[in-house]
Symmetry: C2
Subunit: 716 residues, 2 copies
């Protein structure tokens, strides 16, 4: 496991509100000692303010048709962040409008109308965002793509976070004051809630899917209540991950069989207890019969029986069950096929408040996967995408990888469920077939790190998830554009004030956006081009390990299972004559993936085992192309370095330096990926690395022997 | 200290002679199992055979005018390695010829004539080399440039070697059998002697200049006798380094004052003891009053008094004293000036069998230095160059750096001692002023490593030293050409047999020679371009450390003393208005170095402290040029990698792989040098690294904190 190395925000560092006060203080002294002030300003810029940096530039008059904790926030935000006409009047109206769905809103230059006070708040954030990002503001209705837009926190009760790379949990800690709710806790949770609300995120699963049964203990639930109380005015509902064997583990029952009346009763009591503490409780997330987690199959029951039992109990309170489809066994069957094979027979057997939560790809958040065939396959069962915001397989908090392009690629993939144009987006947001509930989840990258996410640019992934959850038709370009404008505002740095808008756009906005939009493809290139997947060393999922295969480890936890490299070639044969995973896709996709001529080259080695001299569309042989891709990845990161160095005048010193340092580490890691993979695969290809490419600078043996935690220490 | 990592030849591995037998065995079986044979041949190729690989292709008839142990070797070499006309007759004649100097020789297609049997042996090696390297053989006289051509071994009695990167000593070892002379010892010493004789090297100082007094103990001297007996037939005389305080330390005297009669008597007795054991004993090498070593100044005597005392005692036996000029004190005076200032007043005071041994540059074997001003300054005292074959400051046994270009640059430097054309070569070989003895020394890079030198290409530096010691007007191109042809003969690898000569020359000889000839300039570029010097980390002299300056360490042992970088600029001001070291050079050199317009840019920061925006001849500012040089160094090593990968078909697998692996490490080290120096100096220059160059991939802080022994472990 790649241990966390950042500086923690912790409980003894200034919160966002305190930082703001600090800044005010600084401004008071600005006339006295300019140099001193600059230094102070620089040091204060740790990125904690995220994309919420606007200070009002003029006064505004706000008229609101309704008073609630939520509208109070809406009014306050408008007044604090107004960047429109001086003394303009904005009218906020809560009123039913059939064109507005759920918490959607109509907004325009004069005001906002919505069905709910939360809709009004969302409208205010949209208005303010457009002001700050200089987008046009015309009368327009904005409806959310998904009803439930949820962050999944893989936070453990001891404060650690599974696959968390930004410090410890903002919700949980161990120690004497583990259960004490401090003012500082509440301020941090409020900042968290505000950031989520500004994007339209309306739910948070507060604990790890590998859930502790202690999550359902009363003292834990009391803390959940405290968190939920802070989140509520911002429209964020609390959810919990539950361990399916909780009745046996903490209820004192002999079984956790979901059809056992005592078990059902135990869950009923527990749900009632939760609902009493948290009336708007969102529901349960369950990882069942997956990677050692207990589930209904342990008692001879199907996933449907287990999920439905919980769903029935939650229904009276409007709660849902999100049941994860991330299942695979140590069978001889292709792991990529198993979730589909296990869940498709159950289609139609789930309650309408159960949603099957499926990861975007059939394996596990790899740098690139084709979409999971469950999307577009399930027809009478609700299904929701699980995206991963935390970059478990994408350089964690070290690599700059903007994930929107990957998610858009996924959401816009055509499943052909109802003919052409049946994108994953339409198959999950209710457009293609009716779902009682629609939802989308993102595994959060949030921790106590002063900048929340470990990497300044990882904030953009939190931002992008929220924006795509609200509107699954947004482009990556638009999201990046917004995020840069909000996060690195032009007027922020003293230096850039002297430059005009077009200069700022040309020399800062466009290059940085270019870097973000290229960054995912770059990571795919230097890690796993052409459809390669899961070739990480050990279980830390950071560095390369195509060779990693300790004796006795189950095959599908070792890279050779996935790359299948030998002297004949490389790639996992999932064609009709191979594992036949292609069958799980609808025509014409099935044939398209199956046939070499039509299979997109980005998925080539996902679906095909090919000889090293296979001719690519550009005329190169496969081996050479693989080398060119790896090389391209390294070069891309080097270009990011140059680009970032040139935008220095437009960014504060602290964030500039932090990102520069991370880009350096990314460049070293890219080199290690390239060398490790080229040299390992070369043992089988027995072909030279093309002579016009840079040759490896590491020996395979030293990389094979490398404990990547050592690299990490070395890199710090 | 960069610890040795190679595989040692040791005392339990096959010697060259055994390897030869092994090869014969292999050939016998060649008809049976071809594949098996190839494998064996490949595994056997560890480089131990150096440039002596020829096996006779035809029989030859040898007629010799004299019989001696040396002529016996000459006859045997001709018969074993003959590549000329079948059944040709070669006549070897020992006969005085006034055109032949010392151990020179006249050779031609029909035979060799010389004043001594050693001259005949040298002629045989020359003839055989020309046969193997396909050079023309016409009647010609070859006379040595220096009378004494000596290797200095910095070997300690415990078997370690100071600045040795190829394993332990071939002469000394510790343990129970430290003093036992085995047959294996003798075979190895014989191989060593043969290799030296093949180049014309005729002397070896068997122990470290930081000498142990125990060197003069009787049991040590008995082992010296055993070594000298093996070396003698090959014309190699044994020399010893002595500690000046030996009379006090092991003689039981109260002083080691050179004018004390008891001291003189002690030395006289010791010299007699040595001469009795080794009648052709060569003499003493003395490091006196230098880096903590004792010397005559400890007793208020001059270097001359100390050296002359020993010289007088050695004279009856034809011995000489090589007295090192490598002296510097913790004075405020520029270290580069001190040797000159200390020795010039003594010019004329030394006996004619004393030779002042001066390192090529004024500091200490840096990647590039201007020549030491002692050359061309001393006029009535003999002076000899000390070159360093072991790459203490040039990547040790990891980096491929061919040193001939550096040595030729030095030897061809014009001192203007007697007008234009007074090269260092002419000032030291007796051409410019008469010397009773002429000599040249090279600090050996030889150890127990199976390939002798740690790096296959480090053998070329041993070779180059020997060839330049014989003929100080040889070109680097010629030396490289010879060495490649002898060390990687075209006919050696099965694969290359199928290729014709011009293919081999174009695709192997020329690229490899190109790499060798560029390699020194590349190392200067990525380590210390533009006259920078001595900016190594710690005392291991491997990695970069421009920042290295522990509190309390004497200034002239820290890099900031040498680079003098600050916000105003960089470089050591040795002009007339600075330390005035330029004064030590004769006109017009003094003015040429002193003036910015005429100072060669390769020595720019050696002689000048210049602002970061100083305009270079190519129009770039100094800071940018520095970055371009560092960048060029990294790119050059990357090009060497590509080049080496492409010559694979022409080289055996073992040497190909070893060199490839070392080039990879060199490339990583070059990157670390570039990043460390750019980032450190950037703190002062406050200028960006030019945007069209690759940006650093390391952070300065991590490099500053790096213990380079860790890198080394990491790199293995």
């Amino acid at each position: 496991m790649n241990s966390y190395k950042g500086r923690e925000y912790g409980f003894d560092q200034p919160t966002l509100l305190e930082s703001a006060i600090f800044n005010v203080h600084v401004k008071i002294t600005i006339g006295l000692t300019i140099v001193f002030i600059c230094t102070l300003n620089v040091q204060a810029e740790n990125g904690h303010n995220l994309w919420l940096r606007a200070k009002s530039s003029a006064s505004v008059i706000v008229v609101c048709s309704m008073k609630s904790a939520t509208t109070d926030i809406a009014v306050q935000e408008l007044k604090q962040c107004w960047h429109g006409k001086k003394d303009a009047t904005i009218v906020l109206t809560v009123k039913h409008n059939p064109s507005i769905k759920g918490d959607g809103f109509e907004f325009g230059p004069d005001g906002i109308q919505a069905n709910t006070d939360l809709g009004v708040l969302y409208g205010v954030y949209e208005l303010l965002r457009r002001q700050q990002s200089a987008e046009p503001i015309e009368k327009e209705i904005s409806n959310p793509s998904y009803e439930r837009r949820i962050l999944n926190h893989w936070d453990n009760l001891d404060g650690t976070i599974e696959r968390g790379y930004a410090g410890h949990s903002i919700f949980w800690r161990k120690g004497n004051d583990a259960w004490r709710v401090t003012e500082k806790d509440k301020r941090l949770w409020q900042e968290y809630a505000r950031a989520n609300a500004s994007l339209g995120i309306n739910g948070a699963v507060l604990n790890n899917v590998n859930a502790s049964p202690d999550m359902l203990n009363t003292e834990t639930l009391n803390r959940v209540k405290a968190i939920a109380d802070v989140l509520r005015p911002y429209g964020i509902r609390a959810y919990l991950s539950v361990k399916f064997s909780s009745p046996g583990l903490i209820g004192g029952l002999k079984t956790s069989d979901p059809v056992d009346p005592e078990v059902t009763q135990w869950w009923k009591t527990k749900v009632e207890e939760i609902a009493k503490l948290i009336p708007d409780f969102g529901g349960f997330l369950v990882k069942a019969n997956s990677e050692g987690q207990p589930g209904p199959q342990d008692f001879g029951r199907t996933h449907a029986v287990g999920a439905n039992m919980l769903a029935d109990l939650l229904k009276p309170y409007g709660g849902i069950v999100m049941w994860r489809a991330f299942v695979y066994k140590t069978s001889g069957e292709d792991r990529a096929k198993q979730a589909y094979d296990e869940f498709m027979p159950l289609d139609g057997q789930f309650r309408d408040n159960v949603i099957i939560q499926a990861k975007n790809g059939p394996i596990d958040f790899q740098p690139r996967e084709p979409f999971s065939p469950l999307f577009g396959a399930l027809e009478t069962t609700s299904v929701m995408p699980e995206l991963q915001i935390t970059q478990e397989y994408l350089g964690q908090s070290t690599h700059l990888v903007f994930l929107a392009p990957m998610w858009v690629e996924f959401l816009q993939s055509d499943t052909y469920q109802k003919g052409e144009g049946s994108t994953v987006a339409r198959c999950t947001d209710g457009s293609n077939f009716p779902q009682r509930f629609t939802a989308i989840a993102g595994v959060a990258n949030i921790g106590l790190d002063s900048n929340w996410c470990g990497h300044q640019f990882a904030q953009a992934n939190w931002y992008a998830f929220g924006r795509l959850a609200w509107n699954n038709r947004l482009t990556s370009d638009r999201i990046a554009d917004e995020w840069i404008r909000l996060t690195f505002p032009r007027h922020q740095s003293d230096q850039s004030k002297t430059r005009n808008v077009s200069d700022w756009q040309e020399r800062f906005l466009l290059p940085v956006k270019h870097m973000m939009l290229q960054s995912h493809e770059a990571a795919v290139n230097y890690m796993m081009p052409l459809g390669l997947h899961h070739i990480f060393a050990g279980d830390h999922h950071y560095g390369p390990g195509p060779w990693y295969a300790p004796t006795g480890l189950r095959a599908d936890w070792t890279p050779p299972y996935y790359h299948q490299a030998d002297t004949n070639g490389i790639g996992f044969d999932r064609t009709r004559t191979g594992s036949n995973a292609v069958r799980q896709y609808r025509e014409p996709l099935c044939s398209q993936f199956n046939e070499l001529e039509t299979c997109p080259e980005i998925y080539l080695l996902w679906f095909h085992h090919l000889p090293w001299n296979h001719k690519m569309k550009n005329g190169r042989v496969l081996w050479d192309e693989l080398c060119y891709r790896y090389d391209a990845g390294v070069r891309q990161v080097r270009e990011f370095q140059k680009l970032w160095n040139q935008i220095q005048p437009y960014v504060d010193e602290q964030r500039f330096t932090e990102v520069r340092s991370k880009l350096r580490r990314q460049c070293r890691a890219a080199q290690i990926w390239k060398d490790g993979c080229e040299l390992y695969f070369q043992q089988f290809s027995r072909r030279p690395i093309p002579a016009d490419l840079e040759q490896p600078v590491y020996d395979l043996k030293s990389l094979e022997e490398l404990d990547f935690s050592t690299i990490d220490e070395f890199e710090n």
